[in-house]
């Protein structure tokens, strides 16, 4: 039975189903209903957890770090500037191999001051050593959060997991969502059994100095862990599908089989692209969509499989390159194709920044090659196109 629930509330309910034990968050802008609702669940005794209200996002992640080191299942959530303030701790948590789970409700970064959605925040955190999942709808948010704990806490992984949820266009929408029962989730997700934990009776040191003689080895081990985690992510997706009937793939495809042209996108904008693809179908035109559900570790093999025969690839990104040659997703896919000796025509579209609505019509224009920047401000030597800039 599906329930009409706001996606942020649904995320909180998923964290409740996952039996998070320590939740820490900073409760002002840019925050969402996720932690607000979790604080209610804890206060009402509906979730047996410690809720730590802290004075900054840096502290929120620090509290999760400490609690996870002590062996607790932890959760936090932030967005935009809040994620930036956590940045330092993101590396500490992944380096300590602590399976903290967080939602990043993706929002634009200031300046200009913005509270609206885009992917600038997660793009600044993309190489912090966290496993990263993206979601297209509320159901995926709930399912991803439950799976995130199973993935991160697996002893072959032991890494933090970030579930990305598009700000507003996903986080603030009421939509039909199915919730698994507590018993089903308990069977899928047993209690966290840490490999090592901080305890006065069993002293260990965590976060000790990595002298030059050992730092590279530690980083190599960490890198190996995140690269190898892809298999476990897949395993967890498969087990989830068997138990709950909803199948997820590392790379999701839509209408790609007989299309020479594909869009590549992250997150909920995929729905608008799908609507555009359906419109194009009516005109007898074939376009497909490739979505990375798993963004870190980068699912390169799965991507190559779907991209290798395409004639034209349009990579859409909701983050400005900031002086880079292209947007980060484009850059990575271009590297992937080059390394595999594929020289497909690629295009990079920067769109949907700071909450700008990108309607299906825009994707139809991109397909037809008529999408334009309107701005007359000249920009030299640009490899990407900023879509929807007004003159």
């Amino acid at each position: 039975m599906k329930k009409g629930v706001e996606v942020s509330v649904a995320a909180a309910l998923a964290v409740q189903l996952a039996r998070a034990e320590v939740i820490s968050a900073y409760p002002i802008t840019p925050q969402t209903h996720i932690v607000e609702y979790l604080s209610e669940l804890v206060a009402n005794g509906e979730l047996e957890a410690v809720y730590i209200n802290v004075e900054s996002e840096h502290s929120a992640m620090s509290a999760c770090c400490g609690a996870a080191a002590a062996g607790a299942r932890t959760f936090t959530s932030s967005s935009a500037q809040g994620l930036e303030l956590m940045h330092e701790m993101l590396y500490v948590v992944s380096g300590l191999r602590l399976p903290v789970v967080m939602t990043t409700v993706n929002r634009a970064l200031s300046s200009p001051l913005s509270i609206w959605g885009d992917h600038a925040d997660v793009m600044a955190a993309r190489d912090t050593g966290w496993i990263m999942l993206f979601c297209e709808n509320g159901q995926e948010v709930v399912d991803s959060l439950i799976m995130a704990y199973r993935i991160g806490e697996d002893r072959r992984v032991l890494l933090p997991v970030m579930v990305n949820v598009d700000g507003f266009s996903l986080s603030h929408v009421i939509e039909p969502i199915e919730f698994p029962s507590q018993e089903e989730v308990d069977r899928f997700l047993p209690p966290y059994q840490p490999l090592f934990s901080l305890h006065p009776d069993r002293p260990v040191t965590m976060g000790a100095y990595g002298m030059p003689e050992i730092y590279s080895e530690a980083k190599y081990a960490q890198e190996t862990a995140i690269i190898n985690s892809k298999d476990i992510v897949k395993e967890v997706f498969d087990d989830f599908a068997n138990r709950f009937g909803r199948r997820y793939n590392l790379v999701e495809t839509y209408n790609t089989e007989d299309a020479d042209f594909v869009f590549v996108a992250l997150g909920s904008i995929g729905e608008n692209i799908k609507s555009a693809i359906e419109e194009l179908k009516k005109e007898g035109k074939k376009a497909g969509l490739v979505q990375l559900r798993l963004y870190r570790p980068f699912p390169w093999k799965e991507l190559i499989d779907v991209l290798k025969d395409k004639k034209r690839i349009a990579v859409t990104e909701r983050a400005a390159p900031g002086g880079a040659l292209n947007g980060p997703l484009y850059t990575e896919i271009a590297t992937l194709l080059y390394n595999n000796g594929i020289s497909t025509k690629m295009e990079n579209y920067i769109l949907g920044l700071g909450g700008r609505d990108v309607m299906p019509e825009t994707f139809i224009d991109i397909y037809k090659g008529v999408a334009r920047e309107v701005s007359e401000v000249p920009t030299k030597e640009k490899n990407f196109m900023f879509i929807g800039v007004r003159g």
């Binding site: 599906k2 329930k3 009409g4 706001e6 509270i115 609206w116 959605g117 598009d166 507003f168 266009s169 996903l170 603030h172 929408v173 009421i174 939509e175 039909p176 909920s268 904008i269 729905e271 608008n272 799908k274 609507s275 359906e278 909450g355 609505d357 990108v358 309607m359 299906p360």
Partner: protein, 182 residues
Amino acid sequence: MIEVRFHGRGGQGAVTSAELVAQAAIKQNLYAQAFPSFGPERRGAPVQAYLRVSPTPIKLRSKVYHPDAVVILDATLLKTINPAEGIKDDAVIVINSNKDEEELIKLFPKLRIAYVDASKIAKEELGVSITNTTMIGALVKATNITELESLEGPVRERFGILAQRNINAYTRAFKETKVINP
């Protein structure tokens, strides 16, 4: 798919209206989506909320630019906004108004108009002139977007002991709403 745009002022509960109808539609196994106009919330300022209801999954995450129905919770908004902006040719304007038919036709010529004095109903049924739940009755009358009965669960869940008054308000509005066909 039916797309609805709600116009209200911050604090009048336009978002709640959209949410309740979406929840009612989902109860009927339809697909639905409700969300606010994204932005800082300011009491009294014009706000919008959006609603989509469809028999098939909704693959769209944009604001509603071309609504099939527009709900106006507060007629004083007409001084500052044009609620008919972008509407489909056969759209219906659902308005809280105590004006007579001729005046409404002058305001929205050639459009279907559903009107009810929701402020009066809300004042009498709820004791306050907050019209968000009342106007749901008018929307349902004008569009059949959901069944009145499906609203009861979501309204009871949302309002607890105040639910019955809200149910009375939208049920009365459903009965009292008049529709002008162009």
